[in-house]
Symmetry: C2
Subunit: 454 residues, 2 copies
Amino acid sequence: MDQTKIILPESEMPQAWYNIQPDLPAPLAPPLNPGTGQPIGPEDLAPIFPMELIKQEVSMEPWIEIPDDVLRIYKLWRPSPLFRAHRLEEYLGTPARIYYKNESFSPAGSHKPNTAVAQAYYNKQEGVTRIATETGAGQWGSALSLAGALFDLDITVYMVRCSYEQKPYRRMLMEVWGGECFSSPTDKTNAGRAALAKDPDTPGSLGIAISEAVEDAATHDGTKYALGSVLNHVMLHQTINGLETKKQLDLVGEKADVLVGCVGGGSNYAGLFFPFVKDKLDGQDIDIIACEPTACPTLTRAPYRYDFGDTAQLTPLLKMYTLGHSFVPPPIHAGGLRYHGMAPLICLLVSQGVVEPRAFQQPDIFEAAITWARTEGALPAPETAHAIKAGIDEALKCKETGEEKCIVIAYSGHGHFDLAAYDAYLSGEIEDYQLPQEEIDRALAELPEIAEPS
Amino acid sequence: MDQTKIILPESEMPQAWYNIQPDLPAPLAPPLNPGTGQPIGPEDLAPIFPMELIKQEVSMEPWIEIPDDVLRIYKLWRPSPLFRAHRLEEYLGTPARIYYKNESFSPAGSHKPNTAVAQAYYNKQEGVTRIATETGAGQWGSALSLAGALFDLDITVYMVRCSYEQKPYRRMLMEVWGGECFSSPTDKTNAGRAALAKDPDTPGSLGIAISEAVEDAATHDGTKYALGSVLNHVMLHQTINGLETKKQLDLVGEKADVLVGCVGGGSNYAGLFFPFVKDKLDGQDIDIIACEPTACPTLTRAPYRYDFGDTAQLTPLLKMYTLGHSFVPPPIHAGGLRYHGMAPLICLLVSQGVVEPRAFQQPDIFEAAITWARTEGALPAPETAHAIKAGIDEALKCKETGEEKCIVIAYSGHGHFDLAAYDAYLSGEIEDYQLPQEEIDRALAELPEIAEPS
């Protein structure tokens, strides 16, 4: 049997992030000020973000140097290994070669620290002492708490209520790293109080939690806000993942034919696939498949238009596929994929046909995850299981056609804190779910009419 | 900053386990048949173990080849990385260089799969279809369930009740891999029923759980028993860890001055330090420190004598430091260290002064674990935190003396399923505990008088 882990030495770790903005196939629609309908400037974002991140948000430089202090911390888990899934291939009987880029070995168990560490660094550099944020499944909140511990920053996390209750270990993990974690909606913010008044039993949503964290940052001195996905600078920091993957594929003489990854806000998968987009635009034949849950079908069923990033309409308007900022997805176990919108950069690439979206049912992704655990050994996060399901589907297609494709799965995180979800699946408690069209229509009806700037 | 991870390529992975038996500084007292008082032969063990493992148990060959099928599975996480703990060193301000051999990246999260995979392989080779075992904190039960999935064997696990209740995620993990897990004592075995009759509220113990698993294996066709620690062949399989560590230290021009590890049955630490024992016996100056909880102080407070490995007196008699087979340790969070005895090979080395035992209080090991998480990032198992505490103590001694020692910590597993324990610690619910001498005396008074064979 060939090599199982393709390891890049620390000395070969990329020293700069890749900025996709100069290479986009069409111009990116700018974020708009909801009051004026005009593109926002740096001054609009300054109250909640440090200036260096605002610059990165709009930069047209193709490469942005990674600070030494960030590289040193990256070495705690980077370069991350690229695995060959030999045992899954044998189990499926596929002629495809399946690889997975394993981000689960970071201290927080996912790709999230790639940007958490960078954001904490830039905040620290600019004198910030406390960061407020939101978290869905808890991956981001724990990653930022870790980064806070490493850079001596106070961290406050608003955690979506249904995940807070499903995943108590994530809250405890944040506290081990010194973070403070609240179940959102809270009664600590106007946004939280409004959500509770509307529905005291709400399972919460990322939209509401974002509103709470932004309000917290805007109303406390020395406090800034951090977002774990969606924004351009977050995608940027994640690209170290795809840059490493390209080097690792080169080491074994491979070229990717198919990339699969899960998308909630989009950052883990953007991190993997952005460095491959130019190759595709230059004519290389690569399928780039973005996987989402049927319960929150942003890319597969929502329109591409301007909307707020949060429920309380505090953020700038972003052009994206959106189910509507007031949409509250059902409390599925892949909490990290419960977001009404999607990173504008990914949405642009979907709208241009560069990225193909697919939606999956919960029982199917858990079945794929169990197959994975019993062949490859490791236990994936339910979010990651969406990518695994797509990878297995593609490998089985190769079995039918005889094609020897090279498939790369974005293995975004482990499921060690998601075992209650596996328990529910094995007990037969997880069923298919089709989101009623009326729910989408109702949320979309609440959207303001936005004239796109010419 | 220098390299953080010292990585051994898969091509450099050791191809044979190291058997310490020919290199021992004194003869190992043989296991005895409790009925006759005579050393047992292979025929005594054949009902519960496959023959190849029985041979390994008594082998005097210095090297035992690792089967190809085992090596292939090892590659899912081996060679495991040796880390330099730069950030902890800086935090402590020590001139010592601290390394840790990280076994937490195996699919089960600890060193246990090193032997689980080997044992499953040999059982499968000899036609066994089902394996019964016990587990303390759940590390071993999940590792064997993983191995069962990879070799298509049915696995039944008797899990010590207090851990079963403290760590439900470990049970779920076993089930994801297809294992079956019961809270021990059960009403399914004579041993379990006897323990429940004696005390219906018992927190359980490894001794009771071993009795149940051995009885299960002895009374079911096609079923064998597997032990995750204590026995010679288990220590043997773990030595790949220390063999890799020596190669990795060579890569950076280091020689270990101090080794620290935690011991329950002893296998994780034996795996790390056995390959260094000959160097020490040949005159190299290495401190080998074995860490245990003050709540189960086998090496630091118990006598060295023959005793049963289990509560129901089903196993052969083993010469070891023992608190008495009827001893039930308090339900501390480091469940993997709650064993009344200790691997005979380690006990011999302690009795010969080769290994130095130390005991630690729970609040101290959790304090060390929090320091670790906030500097090195990763979350250690409470068992592993004993090793970390000793490593920090040794590094602080170096700070006083100015010695630039090379300290290697056996980082045996992650604490992702132990967050309830961290939560209890951070809430101030974990206190110092000193085991009353009467409890030890009472259990020791129940031991039979055994005449040692001459």
